[in-house]
Symmetry: C2
Subunit: 193 residues, 2 copies
DNA sequence: CCAGGCATGTAAACTGTTACATGATTGT
DNA sequence: ACAATCATGTAACAGTTTACATGCCTGG
């Protein structure tokens, strides 16, 4: 559903086949952006059966034939509609950040943990977020050096901001825990009704 | 998988039944946090068959019997293990923000859109993000007034920071588009290889 | 000789959403 | 009369991940 339009956009820039699209995704951003086969090939099939792309089989010696797809006029129109964005209020709003972050779920019950242990858990999380942010900084640096389209660089910069935001939030959480440590002193609170 | 521990934590604070858990989730945070039945009841079943909670059926006049669950000693131990967080490097890192945000996907192809139209699309997105942030601010205000556990308030504050971050990112994107508008002038770029 | 790249896919498992099925009571 | 609240669930569908299946060629 989402993958489709990214594939369509890539094929519009240059016709290609499953494997080449997979590689391009992984190399343009980062290895972790790679799509898995179980999603990629069916998606290409759906795009074809919808008449948005068309296949041309290019045989090769010793290797499986390449199925090279290019975008049809219909496909191009669909892509352009999508690119302008959904009509306002179309996409249902979701506040699923809670379910997507183990740390937020733990945070809901953090008062049941002795402050010292809570602090340790949050500090570990902070380290991880810092590391993830660093990874992405390196990716963006590579992109800058490689002269990648600035709009695409901004996608990774979104990830960096996201990690930075997480770090700030975790630091605020730490401050709150240290406050609790001072107030509660040596008296740990156990889990109970 | 994720829902389980939240249910376990809630049942540890006070035994309850499916419907009461559902209500509590929706009211403590916001309506949108509600779990759907198709996830809730099977999750309770799994927790029971794993021996982490135990059922007591409480008949009622005129209404279906309540299935009141309480946490077993095993369940409490499992919850405490979870609460301390995963051993470092356990959770696989995911950089799936690209696939989770239509706007980021569009951003990858924004250069194919005339700057004026790109600006309009981004401005729409900015409005939505601002509105979502405002919604959450109101939720957190309600929580502050209701004297909810500060750790739980911080969960919603995460959401607010997330929306704020998105706004900042969208504004940077706007600045970049306006730059492109000045440079390109009246010459629109079409989609092509 | 084995790992990895090239190239296509399928299948099973898991997660999550929406809708359905039932039925009494209470409020508008 | 109609909708909402209370209360349990199931079933169908949609989306995603992981692993499997095949097979040749290249480099260490």
């Amino acid at each position: 559903v989402a993958l489709e339009y990214t594939l369509l956009g890539m094929l519009l820039e240059k016709p290609g086949y499953g494997y080449s699209l997979k590689k391009k995704l992984a190399e343009q951003f980062s290895r972790e952006f790679g799509v898995n086969d179980g999603l990629l090939y069916p998606a290409l099939g759906r795009l074809e059966s919808r008449g948005w792309i068309r296949k041309r089989v290019v045989p090769q010696a010793g290797k499986p034939a390449r199925h090279v797809y290019s975008v049809t006029a219909d496909g191009k129109r669909a892509f352009e509609r999508w690119l302008e964005g959904p009509p306002p209020g179309e996409e249902p709003v979701r506040y699923d950040f809670y379910w997507r972050h183990g740390m937020l779920q733990r945070c809901a019950f953090l008062r049941h943990l002795e402050p010292a242990r809570a602090r340790a858990a949050v500090e570990r999380e902070l380290e991880e977020a810092t590391r993830r942010g660093g990874d992405l900084e390196r990716v963006v640096e590579r992109m800058r050096a490689g002269g990648v389209d600035p709009y695409r660089r901004m996608i990774v910069e979104y990830g960096i901001r996201d990690q930075r935001m997480q770090c700030e939030w975790l630091e605020e959480l730490l401050a709150r825990i240290e406050e609790a440590e001072r107030v509660v002193g040596a008296r740990p609170r156990a889990v109970s009704g």
